[in-house]
Each structure stands twice: as C-alpha cells, then as structure tokens.
Amino acid sequence: MAAIEILDLEKSYLVGFWRKRRKLALRPLRLTIEEGEVFGFLGPNGAGKTTTLKLLMGLVFPTAGTARILGMEMDDPRVKSQIGFLPEQPYFYDHLSARELLNYYGQLSGMPAKGRSARVEQMLARVGLSDSAGLQLRKFSKGMLQRVGLAQAILHDPKLVFLDEPMSGLDPMGRREVRDLIQQLRHEGKTVFFSTHILSDAEALCDRVGVIQQGELRGVGAVAELTSQAQGKVEIIFYAASVPAGLTSLGAEARVSGDMVNAVLPEEQQEAALEVLRRERLKLISLTPVRSSLEEYYVQKLRPTEIRRGAGV
C-alpha cells in the first residue's frame, strides 16, 4: 500500500488589494510514496515544498485535487494519530519545559496516560535533551528547539513522519544526529517524507527524491540509480559560447552557462574530449570526476530550459 498518494493537489492564492490576481503556489502535483520509503523533497526556497507539506497536514486547503495518506483521505481525522510532523524552524510554547511540551502533545495525540511519561523521557533521551528537559523552552537555542521538534514528531510512534527542513539550524553534530535518527526510523519501517535543500543529506538518506521548483514537480528519481549513473564520469568545464560538435559524438551531456560550457561524459572519453578542446583552441577551466549525480540531477531538473544536450545548442 502506498503511504502517500498525492492526486493532482493544487494550491493557489488570491493576491493583491482586491484579491483578484491568482498566484499559483503549487501546480497540480501527482506523487506516490511507498510505505517504508525515505523520500526527499528537494527544491530551492519558495519552490513549494512547505506548501505541499502544509496541504498534507491540513494547515492550508487545496484549490483542487486531493491526497490519500495511509489509505485514508487526507482530511480523515484518523490520519492525524498516525502521522508526525516537524515544521520548518519550529517554535513552541515559551513557558513550557521540553518535558511538559512533549507530555501536552502526547495528550493531544491520544496517548494513554499509562506509559506516556516513560515515552516522553525516552524521546528526550533519544534527541539528547534529557539534561535540559525541565528548562523552559524560551531558554533553548535554535538547535535545541529543532531537537524538541523532532521528539514531538515521533513521540506517538507514528507510521509516517513529515519533516520540513529537519537539518535547518543545526550544527554539524546536530545534523549528523538527525541523519542517524532518520536512518533509525527507516530501520523501524517508518515512512519518512522530508523536504530539504541540502543535497548531501538527501543523497545519504533517501530512497527516492523529487525535485520541485516554482510549484511544479520537475522530476522524481531513485537515489541509488542516480548514484550508479555517476560512476565513471568526468565533468569538463571550459570557455566557449557553444558546445563543440566533436563532444556530441563522445556522448557528452553539456550545458552552456554564460561564456562557459559544462560537459559531463564517460571517463574513457576524457582524452578524446581534451583533444577536441585542443583542436578547437578552447581554454579548459577544470576537469573533475563526477561525485554526486544527485547534484547534476537537481541542477538539470531545476533549469531544464538551459540544458543543451550535445550539439543541440
């Protein structure tokens, strides 16, 4: 069974003084995420990641379309007891301690009184906040609030966890811990849907990623496939106004950016490609092995109109 089925979910807002102008925040989105999958939703700020999450959480209402979560309609009240949500840059009740806050959320989630306190303590320990559990949240740093946010998202042992920029505001150690936490959730069989613009996190954690820009899903790909595609490729950057025809026959994927060309091609074609540059008297800027094809994929999906393949410049 799919954990999330997004069926042409769309959101637009009426803007302007007379609210007559329609601003599209999310174009019809169709996406399926399987149970037990860790899915990364990638895109720059303002791309529509948070809007998608808010729609799924019922915080904003869709203009059109719907979604099914864990086999239920997204506005079915039963859904909420089986999902956890960490908003971007979470903020909580200033005058509560972390322990009180988690206990409050546990109550709202319908957790039985028996065992709730033990679960709260367990979660506090899991995110490394046992020592600060009695401190009021207004005294917490941004990173500590993020940890509280993670603890409240998984407190009631949800089947599906939505995390909006979970690494935001964390130091390298904190980021590592969040990564470990998501890995643990994966091992526990949970489905994780998280948004990020940090590609290394997505590459390390996700089974699949989706790239979104300007409210439009630009592509979905399996990270393992993308990574395997990267092996044995080199990236050549050189000065040129267009892609030399000789590179096309070598199987290069090239992109023109200003007065530079960025070409990715099989490693075994490296010498032949350099020969083409010498012949055409083009100045080489760099030649590096491709490490992250996810980054390539991301860049390609974000700027499809700028992508020029081979000689088709």
Partner: protein, 263 residues
C-alpha cells in the same frame, strides 16, 4: 485508558492556555489591584464619612471589571494570531485535534484564567470591606452577584476578542473588541435613543443597540454598592444572555477559523 476524547483534548488545550497565561505573569496584575484597593481602603478609613462601604464596593468592583477586561482583550486577541505567527499551531493541528476544539479550548483557557484572577480580586474586595466596615453584612452577598456579572462580561469580551483574532491583526482585534466593550457599556442608552429616533436612523440605531453586547445590563456595581438587591430575574436573563452571546461569537470564530489557510 485512552486520553483521546473531544472533551479531554479541549481540556488539555484550555489547561495549557491557562498555564501559559499564568507563567507569562498575567496574574501579576493582582499586585497592582491589591495596592490600589488597600490604598483606597486605608484612605477611606482615614476620612470616615460613612460612605466607606459605598466607595470600596464601587472602586473595588470597577477595578475588577477593568483589570479583567484589559486582560481579556490583550490575551484574547493573541490567542489564535500568536499561535499562527509563531507556528505553534502547526504542531497542534497536525495531531488529532479539530480546529473547533482548538478555538473552544483556547476560550475556556482564557476564561479560566480570568475566573481565577477574579477570585483573587474578589477576596481582595471582601478584605477591604472587612477593613473599613469591621464586619460583613447581609447585603454584602449582593457583591457576589455583581462579581458573577463581571465574570459574564469577561465571557463575552473573551469570545469577541477570540472572534476578531481569527481573521484580523492583533491591533485591529484590540480596537474592535474595546470599541464593542465601550459601546456595549452604553447599550441601554443606545436602546433608549433608538426608541425615540424615527426613520432609517431609528432603525439603524435599533439594529446596532441590539447587536452590540449589552454590558450595561451586566453592570450592577452601583446597585450593590448602595446595598440594594439584584432581582432574580435579572440574574437569570443575564446568565442566558451572556452564554448565548458568547456561544454565538465563538461559533463565528470557529466558522472563520475552519476555513482559514494557515500560511
């Protein structure tokens, strides 16, 4: 035992609202109230011109009302908007909490805070009465009825502040609520004016007079200060009126909040 019922969720939200308000030093107003009342009692005791009781009841109950209304407005207007601005609402509504439960819970939390606040102030008023009169009299029981009416006022003010806060900025919500409080305090005069005005003006005045909350009917401070009894029928009418008016304002708040996009 599961703790997931509607009533328990409303109760948890109400208790959390109360706890936040108390920890946010809302009850500190009691210090100012105590200072004001004890100062007045001592001053009246010194002057001693046989109107001590009148002055203490008038001043005490007016202070209870004003302090409470100010708290009701200033906390009420932020109850929903603050939670949206600070995004604390997101983690609440992503749980099995319906939006109407959140609004009703917030309302009960704030009214609970005001009831506790009023309770302490009431003790202050009776202590001041005891100080100036040296004993309680039978007519002092009517002060309790006046305090009950003040609490009914708070119910309406809280509901209105909450209603405005579901669609307006905190500043505008404060302005609207305070304006309604002032106009509502003059509701009886407005109704009298409507009765003697003819034509469209009269019709408009009647609509406004009956639409605004009738706070003047809930004000029996002067009556009890003079030791006069409060008619039983008024207690019944005011109770029903305040409950219905608050329920209507809360229903309006729920209807708006149910449809609101939390951007």
């Amino acid at each position: 035992m599961s703790s997931g019922g509607v009533n328990s969720r409303i109760g948890y939200i109400a208790f959390n609202t109360f706890r936040e308000a108390v920890r946010d030093r809302v009850l500190y107003n009691l210090i100012a109230f105590a200072l004001l009342l004890s100062g007045a009692a001592i001053l009246v005791g010194e002057i001693s011109i046989d109107i001590e009781r009148l002055v203490v009841v008038n001043l005490g109950l007016t202070a209870v009302s004003l302090f409470g209304v100010v708290i009701a407005i200033f906390i009420g207007i932020g109850l929903v908007s603050k939670e949206i601005d600070k995004r604390t609402l997101y983690t609440v509504l992503s749980r099995p909490v319906r939006r109407w439960e959140f609004v009703v819970g917030k309302f009960f939390g704030l009214t609970g805070t005001l009831v506790v606040n009023t309770l302490f102030m009431a003790i202050g008023v009776f202590l001041a009465l005891l100080y100036v009169a040296h004993k309680f009299e039978k007519m002092d029981a009517w002060v309790l009825v006046a305090l009950y009416f003040i609490v009914l006022q708070f119910l309406i003010v809280c509901a209105l502040a909450l209603f405005f806060s579901t669609f307006s900025t905190p500043l505008m919500s404060a302005v609207f609520t305070f304006a309604l409080f002032v106009i509502g305090s003059l509701a009886e005069d407005l109704r009298g004016f409507a009765r003697i005005t003819q034509g469209l003006g009269g019709w408009l005045a009647t609509v406004v007079a009956y639409l605004v909350p009738n706070f003047s009917a809930l004000n029996v401070i002067s009556l009890v200060a003079h030791g006069d009894p409060v008619p039983g029928r008024l207690i019944l009418y005011n109770s029903v009126y305040a409950l219905l008016y608050s329920a209507m304002a809360i229903s309006g708040a729920v209807l708006i909040f149910q449809r609101r996009n939390l951007k």
